[in-house]
Symmetry: C2
Subunit: 164 residues, 2 copies
DNA sequence: CTCCGGTAGTTAGGTTGCCTAACGATTAGG
DNA sequence: CCTAATCGTTAGGCAACCTAACTACCGGAG
């Protein structure tokens, strides 16, 4: 029914991203986590189990420190995160999930896995594998591309260490 | 250099979408079109050469009529679009690109094609083909999926007629 | 030790990109 | 011709970011 003349890549990325985000958010709600908004999920996607500095969270999520601080503030008020001073650096604070936060975190990770599995079974594991692979290759091309950084206006961020 | 432990699909979609949008926007600026913002590009992506109704524009771009109206207002003020009464329906107006708008439109379409070609040559035509294919399949699954509409909260929109 | 440039985080204030609710104008159907 | 639905607009609001400017702390050079 739906051979609707190939959509351009921008539309495809956009629609699939929106669908993914809504799906993930819905799963969190179904899991009883109702006091967060969609934007908070990206904090969960960037934070390490044992704590992460605010600037790192911001860099990993492609946003500015103040923007990330606001999200963290809210998650702190609702009891998902806490801030502790970094023992190695008095300026820095480690943003760390609380017990409640760790529960939400594992729920989120599991939900993402579920979704990916669902996608794989929907379009075939092989095709899904290729999709991830191509997206990753494209992304790395952007990151390492010397020609035209594409995000010259957004240069600052170059995520340093991934989560462990 | 960059074997950084596979990113989850949400990150991949998000980063690639951002990169694409920035790239497209940059190309428009390079082509001398400097009086529009990124959000306006999606109007160009939804409009038909000979005019489209506001509600259709909104539906195709997944937004509400007032939101789309604002974008159209701005593009009208800057001379890219005009509103004419729909001859077939006195309530409706056709949003139609002006001469200036048609120039911008073709520039945008060309830019998208360029970007897609660049992507294809970056990761290989075959892989790129598979990427588009998988994204489209995934998207259609969401659209036609009876199980869990994923966007129940955003139901209204069901793009009727695609552009010609 | 002390000064000093750089980095971590926060505060204050602004902009963009949407949304909902309510309304007037127009059309279509019984 | 009256009513219900639809097209567009107005008014008002809010989330999710941003930039600029500040304080607090680090780490190295003199």
């Amino acid at each position: 029914m739906n051979t609707r003349a190939r959509l351009p890549i921008g539309q495809l990325l956009g629609r699939n991203l929106r669908a993914f985000r809504e799906d993930l958010y819905r799963r969190q709600r179904d899991a009883g986590i109702t006091d967060i908004r969609e934007a908070h999920l990206q904090v969960f996607g960037a934070i390490d189990w044992r704590g992460t500095r605010l600037t790192d969270l911001a860099a990993r999520s492609n946003m500015t420190p103040p923007a990330m601080a606001e999200l963290v503030d809210q998650l702190q008020e609702t009891g998902y995160l806490e801030r502790v001073v970094d023992p190695n650096d008095g300026r820095a604070k480690l943003v760390r999930p609380t017990r409640k936060g760790r529960r939400a975190l594992t729920a989120a990770l599991r939900a993402v896995e579920d979704i990916e599995r669902e996608y794989a079974s929907a379009i075939g594991a092989e095709r899904f594998e290729g999709l991830i692979d191509a997206l990753q290759a494209l992304h790395e091309r952007h990151a390492t591309d010397g020609r035209a950084p594409a995000s010259a206006c957004r240069s600052r961020r170059t995520a340093s260490s991934r989560r462990d």
